[in-house]
């Protein structure tokens, strides 16, 4: 596995300085942050008044108006809140083995760190879950200043292997407003789709990043036997005559994944492993915030 140095991460973080990742959906959290909150709160900038109703917080009463007019009104203003973000990394063997080496896993780590830095820049708590064959590796969403450094340490220490299930990790995400799934979707893609749709229905913003290796997009090898790294028994002849049908089948798979995820209301981005990580993060942020194409 290629080792990413501090220089690589440093260059990425420098390139992403100033990038804002605004929540597409209004967060429901009460912590004050950079995103317009779903609830109406006692903000300084008053947008409207309404009569006091039983149950309103008495602190929201406009006491001066009550004193002048003897009418009980409460001040209403759009609140701002944080958007706790969770990045879910697929740590299956297919991410770390392939024709080009571990380029997909390398790109996944860069995307993870880049997104964490961007989210942390907006004051959002950022967490991480890595699906591994030996068990999930979790970092709860936090807004501390060293969360990016902690994330770098964790993703660099992980060795991808086996064929872990990613979908179960999408369960029970309380307090999370955004979920970013970084995977090649070659594992339990259908189960992930079901759980992802459930999250979207709960109002969670789901962004799916499908990682593709350039070598997988254009096969250049002949006279070889292709072995699935997650299933040693799956062996297929890699002959030139098979390239055409492979291209068709792989394109159909990616198209199916894109359409299905978009149909759930999630955002879908396809990232190629040779894409510059900073560009990939910007593209991902644009798609996530709805300011760019969905894919």
């Amino acid at each position: 596995m290629a080792t990413l140095g501090q220089h690589d991460y440093g260059a990425l973080l420098d390139a992403l300085r100033g990038v804002r990742w605004m929540a597409r959906l209004r967060p429901r959290t009460t912590n004050v942050g950079a995103h317009t909150a779903k609830r109406i709160g006692p903000n300084v900038e008053v947008t409207e008044y309404r009569p006091y109703r039983q149950g309103d917080d008495p602190r929201r009463l406009d006491w001066k108006l009550l004193a002048r007019t003897d009418r009980a009104y409460v001040r209403l203003a759009p609140d701002v809140a944080t958007s706790p973000t969770l990045i879910l990394l697929d740590g299956s063997a297919s991410m770390g083995a392939g024709l080009g080496g571990d380029t997909k896993w390398r790109q996944a780590r860069m995307l993870c760190v880049g997104l964490a830095a961007v989210g942390r820049g907006a004051g959002d708590p950022v967490g991480l879950v890595i699906a591994l064959a030996s068990g999930a590796r979790r970092l709860a969403p936090r807004a501390r200043g060293d969360v990016v450094r902690e994330m770098i340490r964790v993703v660099d220490a992980v060795l991808v292997d086996g064929s872990p299930d990613v979908a179960p990790l999408l369960e029970g995400m309380r307090g999370v407003e955004r979920v970013v799934i970084i995977s090649d979707l070659l594992g339990d893609a259908d189960a992930m789709l079901v759980r992802g749709a459930s999250l979207v229905a709960r109002g969670v913003e789901v962004i799916v990043v499908q990682l593709v290796a350039r070598a997988e997009l254009s096969l250049a090898l002949e006279r070889a036997v292709a072995v699935d790294p997650e299933n040693e028994t799956l062996r297929r002849p890699l002959a030139r005559s098979a390239h055409r049908s492979y291209d068709v089948a792989f394109a159909a798979f990616r198209s199916t994944m894109r359409n299905h995820w978009l149909a759930t209301g999630a955002r879908y981005v396809e990232i190629v492993d040779d894409q510059p990580p900073a560009d990939a993060v910007r593209k991902l942020v644009r798609v996530a915030t709805g300011t760019g194409p969905v894919a």
């Binding site: 063997a93 297919s94 991410m95 083995a97 392939g98 024709l99 997909k104 090649d184 070659l186 290796a213 997988e216 090898l221 006279r223 070889a224 036997v225 292709a226 072995v227 699935d228 790294p229 997650e230 799956l234 062996r235 297929r236 002849p237 890699l238 002959a239 098979a242 049908s245 492979y246 089948a249 792989f250 798979f253």
Partner: protein, 405 residues
Amino acid sequence: MTWLAPWALGAGALGLLGVIAAHLLSRQRPRAIALATARFLPAGMLEATTVQRVPMDRWWMLLRLLIIALLTLGVAQPVLTGRRVATRTVLLLDGTLPVEEQRAALAMLREGDAVITFDTNAVLGAPTSVMPVRARRASLSAALARLVRSRDSLARGTQELRIAVASPFAANSVDPASAVLRALVPDSIHIVPITVATDTAPARGALIVHADGDDPVAATAQLLGDSVAVQGMIIARRATLSAEDSIAADRGATVVWWPAQLAARTQPLQALTVAGTTWIAPIGRDSVTPRPVRAQPIAWWTDGAPAAWVSDIGSGCRIDVRASLPAAGDHVLSLSAQAWVAALVRSCERDIATARPAPAWLAAAPAADGDVVEASVASGIGKWLVAGALALAVLELALRRVRRA
């Protein structure tokens, strides 16, 4: 060059073609690579048999061809016949002949002929390598035995093998084994005529014994008297020979140097043989006194180890005996001991004095029991070729394992 098993060449040729065909028609086993999207490839045959224009793995093919070729040549057993000559003469040259007679016999030979010079031993060599030396005694059996062993190799590369013998056929040179050995040689033997001038009988001299008064050999010598003393005889039982002994030998005397070493009390019976006369007594081997150099063995223990040697000193003769006698007993005084000592001393007499005509059974070729198979001996390179092929096969196996690892 010929082959003992030419059929192996055909089989080897088929094997070579098979190796080449296998490398042309080899079933390709493509290398395996990890591909996460392998499921999108269509299923099909993982191996394919294809005909290549150029053999695959050419270095491996060359190594395998070399193995098959070496194995084929090894099994075929090449016979190196070399240059063939029309006739080759093998001369059995008796060492008891005078040096002039030996040189005259050698002059008859040509390049490519061979000589077996024999006294009590026989040595095969080229005519130019023979340095005539006159011996006192010769054994025709030794020469015939050497001829039987070397006959096939001598006959190789020639159309006709001619065997000749130059010998005075002295009484002691022919023994019962000679006729048996002659029957093993399928060729006729040509008798080279020689002229032998028999030595005149030398005047007998006195017998002198240098020993202690109770020395058993001295007693035996006294019993023998002057009957065995030719030109005088000195029996020295001392640790060293003196200058007077050498002077006497130079003048024609026979000096027997038999250092007085005592045998162990528990010495078992041993047999000593000289010129057909055997003495059985509790005699031990004298391992203390050094052996003489450039002397001819004349007496042997039963295991073939020499016990006495004879050598020329001037016109005389010196006999070295390395046997220890028991301290007590009258074994040395027995008749067999006296006969043995007499035969020992007579070893200094030259056998040529008893020259006689060649025996009748020597010249004619024996009746053949069947066809005489012409000599064809494998050159011996075959086993080395097979060994080389096996070594290369092991190397090929090891290289393949290393490559897989």
